[in-house]
Symmetry: C2
Amino acid sequence: MSAKVHAELHESVRRSLTARDVRYTAGRRKVIDTLSEAPGPRSAAELLDETHDVPLSSLYRSLTVLDEAGILRRQHDADGLARYELAEWLTGHHHHAVCTDCGSVEDIELGESEEASLDRILAGLSRSTGWDLTGHSLEVEGVCPSCRT
Amino acid sequence: MSAKVHAELHESVRRSLTARDVRYTAGRRKVIDTLSEAPGPRSAAELLDETHDVPLSSLYRSLTVLDEAGILRRQHDADGLARYELAEWLTGHHHHAVCTDCGSVEDIELGESEEASLDRILAGLSRSTGWDLTGHSLEVEGVCPSCRT
DNA sequence: ATGAGTGCAAAGGCTTTGCATTAGG
DNA sequence: CCTAATGCAAAGCCTTTGCACTCAT
């Protein structure tokens, strides 16, 4: 993420937090910085390492607060480990590819026409299932380039 | 699941386990029975309750063994709780709808043409990402019929 | 028979919480 | 200033494991 976009990211986060009376502290900025540079969702342990000097409990509390504020999204990988990524309104809509070999998760984007056919599929599902569908995520699994070699 | 298909299910499981020198015990049959009747993935706590008289540690050990044998599939829900369902070779390929309100997960199936367009999307991804893709799952989120009312 | 499975209790690992202190707006 | 956030240690919760006993094949 470029410097300019980076500054805008922090501004977006700050505005969003301020509106909820949540403070944008140094530790939280480090978390957002780290996540914005990551190629895919990060675990708490990875963030603990990559943010430097953000204590465990503060990290977890910040992650919880940022999740509740809609700044980031928490999921769980195949091992049940919590993984965090910036929310889609900050990064843009994307999907995930999970390596069945090493477990790494990589962000991937679909082209317009692919995303459009996904939307058509969802519209059909909404009708046939009785659910009021609000979002979707396609997760593909396979072997990543570095495990393939 | 009908009685006949049910019997076939147990036979499939038994054959698969026998081939790996894993025994198909009463407790494990209860787990398979419960999962085959569930409308979506079950947690360990739910299985503990629904199987009756399968002790905690035995349940977890059976789930681990059955997962490793490819009989069932373990995932984790939004709260990080492990959830189990029969593997797709036993139930058929399907996807999940997650209720953003109550957290319930329901199995859903796509029609042939929808599944075919998903496959086309995946083929494109395989080319553009350099991954060797082997599977996919589409998770849709929304509000389930019972939470909508 | 004989090794896999069971069942209880104890341990593990990730995450949350209590509380006194610090610092952001 | 005044309340949210921090940071340490302690507690929680789901899941796994040690060990002696039991049962499936």
